[in-house]
C-alpha cells in the first residue's frame, strides 16, 4: 500500500468534521450553516474512502458516492429554502427563525 497511513486520513477527516460542526453550532447565517454541513459530510466521506482503501474493497467508496448524491439533493433543498426566505425578506438568522416552536 502506497501513501500515508490511515491515521493521517482519519485525522484530516476528524478535523473537517469538527470544523463543520463548529460552523453549524456557532454561525447564524443559514448559508454558512449549509456550507459547514457540507464540510461535515465531506469529512465523513473522507473517512469512508480511507477505510475502503484500507480494507481493499469498494463498499465504502460506493457509500461515499451515495452520500454525495444525498448531499447534492440536500443543498438543492436548503438553498431553495434560503432563497425563498430571502424573497420573503426574512432575516437570514437561524436563531430568529424559530416559528415552528410549539
Amino acid at each position: 500500500m502506497n501513501g500515508p497511513g490511515i491515521a493521517w486520513y482519519l485525522a484530516l477527516a476528524a478535523f473537517l468534521f469538527a470544523t463543520g460542526m463548529l460552523g453549524v453550532l456557532l454561525r447564524r447565517s443559514p448559508l454558512i450553516v449549509l456550507l459547514s454541513l457540507e464540510l461535515m459530510l465531506n469529512g465523513a466521506n473522507l473517512a469512508l474512502i480511507a477505510f475502503a482503501r484500507q480494507a481493499g474493497n469498494l463498499d465504502g467508496q460506493i457509500f461515499a458516492l451515495a452520500v454525495m448524491a444525498v448531499a447534492a439533493a440536500e443543498v438543492v433543498v436548503g438553498l431553495g429554502l434560503i432563497v425563498a426566505m430571502a424573497r420573503k425578506k426574512l432575516t437570514l438568522d437561524v436563531d430568529k427563525l424559530s416559528f415552528l416552536r410549539g
Partner: protein
C-alpha cells in the same frame, strides 16, 4: 301429539313476529286478527293433542319431543324439547283457550287505541311465553319461559308508557319477579352441581342431601311466590292493574300468576323431598288468601278488588299444592281462569262504558242499564264465592277438604283459614256487585254512561258470554267425591298426597257454601239493603298491611342512602379525584417536555453532537 304441541307453542310466536315485521304496512284491525288467529290455531292444536292423548293409555300420555341439542357444556346437556303430558296439556288448553278469548275481546276493547299493533304483538308474545313455560321439556326451558313471561308482563303493564304510574308499576312487577327468577336460578345451579342435569327427572335428588334438597325447593318456591304474587312478594299485583283491562285478565286468568301453581305441581318431587318447604308453601298460601281477602274488603278500585281476589284464590291453589292436593289445585286453577276472566272482561265493559272510571264509589245502579254485563259479572261473582252450581263451588271446597284430610293441628289450621277465606270472598265479591249494580244510578253514571252502541262491541260481548257460560257450568267436569276425571287424569303426573274421605268432602262443601252465602248476606245487609252502616275501613287494610312502606324502608331507602353515601364518600373523592389528578399530571408533564423544544437550531445540533460524544466516550471506555 307432539307435533300439535309444537304447533301450539309456536303459533303465537309466529303471530307476534308477523305483526312486528308487518309494522305499519298492516292495518290495526289486521294486527288484532293475526294475534287472535294465531292463538286460536294454538288452541285448536292443543285440543287436537288433548284428543289424541285421550285415546292413549294413561302410561303413554307423557311424551318428550326434542328438536335439537340446545346447550352442551362438558357432561351437561339440555335439549330444546317440549314435554307433552297430562299436566301440560291441561295448562295448554287453559292458556290458549282463555288467552285467545281475551285477545278476541281486545279487538273491541283496544279499538282506536294508539299503538294497537304493539299491543297485539305483546299479547301474542305473552301467550307464547306462557306456553314455553308450561310445555318446556326441562327446567332450563321452563326458566326461559318464566323469564319471558316476566318480560311480556313488564311490556304490557307498562303499555300506557306515557303514564308515569304505569311505568312504575311495570318496573315494580319486573323487579319483584326478578327476585323469584334469581332464587330459581340458584336452585338450578345447585341441581346442576349436584345432579349434573336439569331434566325434570332430577327433581327430588340428590336423595338424602337435605341441605341441597331444602335449598332447591326453597328456590323454586321463591320463584313461584314471586310469579304468583303470594306473600311476601305480592305487592306488584295490585299495581299491575295499570295495564289495559284485558292484560289484567290475561295475567290473572290464563298466564303469569298461575305459573307458580304449575311450577309447584310440576316439581312436586322436589317439594315432597323437602316437606318443610312444602308446608311453607301451604302456610304462605293460607296467609295470602286471608290477607288479600281482608284488603279486598276496603279497596275502591273495581280492578284492584278483583286483583286481590285473584291473589286470594291463588292462595287457595298454593294451599292445595302445599298439602299435596295437586289435582285440586290445578282444577281450581282452571275454574279460576274462567270466572276471573269473566269478571275482568265484564269489568272492562263497565270501565269502557264509563269512560275509563274505575272507582266503585262513583258507580251504582248499573243493573238495569247494563243487564248483560250484570249477568256476566254475577255469574263470575257467584263462581268466585263458591255458590252452587257455579264453577268455584266445585273447585274451591275440595282444596279446603284436603286440608282437613291432611290432619293434625297444621291441617286443621289451614282448614279454618280456607273457610274464613270463603266467608271473606262472599263479602268482598258481593260488596262489589251490590255497590256497582244495585240501587239507583249515581250522578256520575247518569252523566257519563254511554251505551248507545249497546254494551260494547260484539267482540267484547261474545267472549264474555262464552266465559260466563264456562264459569257457570264448567265446574261439573269434576264433583268430588262423586266423579273426579281431572284428578284421575293428573294422577300419573302428580299423585295426590292426601285424599279426603267422603264425609270430610261433603261436610266441608256444606260449611263452605254456608259461609259463602253468609258472606253474601252480610254484603247484602250492608251494601244492598243498607240495613247496617258500613264499618269504617281500618287504615291497615287500606294501606295493604303496609307492605309497600315496609319494602320502601327495608330496601329502597337503604339502597338510595348507600348509593348517595358511596357517591359522596367514594366516587367524588376517589374516582373523580384520581381522574382530575391524571389530567393535571399529564398537562404538567407536557409543559415540562415542551420546554426542551427551544426552536433554536443550535440547541438541537448541540444535543445531537453532545450525545454522540457521550456515546463515543462510553463506547471507547467500555471497550
Amino acid at each position: 301429539m307432539t307435533l300439535s304441541g309444537w304447533i301450539t307453542l309456536f303459533a303465537p310466536l309466529v303471530g307476534a313476529v308477523l305483526i312486528t315485521l308487518g309494522g305499519s304496512r298492516i292495518g290495526r284491525r289486521t294486527a288484532g286478527y293475526i294475534a287472535t288467529a294465531s292463538t286460536m290455531i294454538a288452541f285448536v292444536a292443543a285440543v287436537v293433542a288433548f284428543v289424541i292423548a285421550l285415546g292413549k293409555s294413561p302410561d303413554s300420555r307423557s311424551q318428550l319431543s326434542t328438536a335439537y341439542t340446545w346447550i352442551q357444556a362438558g357432561s351437561y346437556q339440555s335439549g330444546f324439547s317440549i314435554l307433552i303430558d297430562q299436566l301440560s296439556l291441561l295448562m295448554m288448553l287453559i292458556v290458549t283457550g282463555v288467552g285467545s278469548l281475551i285477545i278476541a275481546y281486545s279487538l273491541g276493547y283496544m279499538e282506536g287505541e294508539d299503538e294497537e299493533r304493539r299491543y297485539f304483538a305483546y299479547m301474542a308474545l305473552f301467550v307464547f311465553s306462557m306456553l314455553l313455560l308450561v310445555e318446556g321439556g326441562n327446567l332450563i326451558l321452563l326458566l326461559a319461559g318464566w323469564g319471558m313471561v316476566g318480560l311480556s308482563s313488564y311490556l304490557l303493564i307498562g303499555f300506557y308508557h306515557r303514564r308515569a304510574s304505569a311505568v312504575a308499576a311495570a318496573k315494580k312487577a319486573f323487579v319483584m319477579n326478578a327476585v323469584g327468577d334469581a332464587t330459581m336460578a340458584i336452585a338450578f345451579f345447585l341441581l346442576i352441581k349436584y345432579t349434573g342435569s336439569l331434566s325434570f327427572s332430577v327433581l327430588g335428588q340428590p336423595a338424602g342431601n337435605h341441605w341441597v334438597l331444602n335449598v332447591v325447593a326453597l328456590g323454586l318456591l321463591g320463584g313461584a311466590v314471586a310469579k304468583s304474587a303470594q306473600l311476601p312478594l305480592q305487592t306488584w299485583l295490585p299495581d299491575a292493574m295499570e295495564g289495559p283491562t284485558p292484560v289484567s285478565a290475561l295475567i290473572h286468568a290464563a298466564t303469569m300468576v298461575t305459573a307458580g301453581v304449575y311450577l309447584i305441581v310440576r316439581c312436586n318431587a322436589a317439594f315432597e323431598a323437602a316437606p318443610h318447604v312444602q308446608n311453607l308453601a301451604a302456610v304462605l298460601g293460607a296467609l295470602t288468601l286471608l290477607m288479600a281477602g281482608l284488603i279486598a274488603l276496603v279497596q275502591v278500585d273495581i280492578k284492584r278488588v278483583i286483583a286481590y281476589s285473584t291473589m286470594s284464590q291463588i292462595g287457595y291453589m298454593f294451599l292445595g299444592a302445599g298439602i299435596g292436593a295437586y289435582a285440586d289445585a290445578i282444577f281450581h286453577l282452571m275454574m279460576h281462569a274462567f270466572f276471573k276472566a269473566t269478571l275482568f272482561l265484564a269489568a272492562g265493559i263497565l270501565i269502557h262504558a264509563l269512560s275509563g272510571e274505575q272507582d266503585i264509589r262513583k258507580m251504582g245502579g248499573l243493573r238495569k242499564l247494563m243487564p248483560f254485563t250484570f249477568l256476566a259479572f254475577l255469574a263470575g261473582g257467584l263462581a268466585l264465592a263458591g255458590i252452587p252450581p257455579f264453577s268455584g263451588f266445585f273447585s274451591k271446597d275440595p282444596i279446603i277438604a284436603s286440608a282437613l284430610a291432611r290432619g293434625g293441628w297444621f291441617g286443621d289450621m289451614l282448614w279454618v283459614a280456607g273457610l274464613a277465606g270463603a266467608l271473606l270472598t262472599g263479602i268482598y265479591t258481593f260488596r262489589l256487585i251490590f255497590r256497582v249494580f244495585l240501587g239507583e244510578p249515581s250522578a256520575f253514571v247518569r252523566e257519563h254512561l254511554h251505551t248507545e252502541h249497546g254494551e260494547g262491541p260484539i267482540s267484547m260481548r261474545w267472549t264474555v258470554a262464552v266465559l260466563a257460560v264456562l264459569a257457570t257450568v264448567a265446574g261439573f267436569i269434576q264433583f268430588p267425591p262423586f266423579w273426579e276425571p281431572v284428578s284421575n287424569w293428573l294422577e300419573p303426573v302428580a299423585p295426590p298426597l292426601v285424599t279426603p274421605t267422603n264425609a270430610q268432602e261433603i261436610g266441608t262443601l256444606l260449611i263452605g257454601v254456608t259461609l259463602g252465602a253468609l258472606g253474601i248476606l252480610i254484603a247484602w245487609l250492608i251494601y244492598g239493603s243498607h240495613r247496617f252502616k258500613a264499618p269504617k275501613p281500618s287504615e291497615i287494610l287500606e294501606e295493604k298491611f303496609f307492605f309497600d312502606e315496609l319494602y320502601d324502608a327495608a330496601f329502597y331507602r337503604p339502597a338510595v342512602w348507600l348509593a348517595k353515601t358511596l357517591r359522596r364518600g367514594f366516587e367524588e373523592p376517589v374516582i373523580d379525584g384520581s381522574i382530575a389528578e391524571v389530567v393535571v399530571g399529564t398537562r404538567d408533564a407536557a409543559r415540562w417536555t415542551a420546554r426542551l423544544q427551544t426552536g433554536l437550531l443550535r440547541t438541537y445540533v448541540f444535543a445531537i453532537a453532545a450525545s454522540l460524544a457521550v456515546l463515543l466516550v462510553v463506547f471507547v471506555a467500555v471497550r
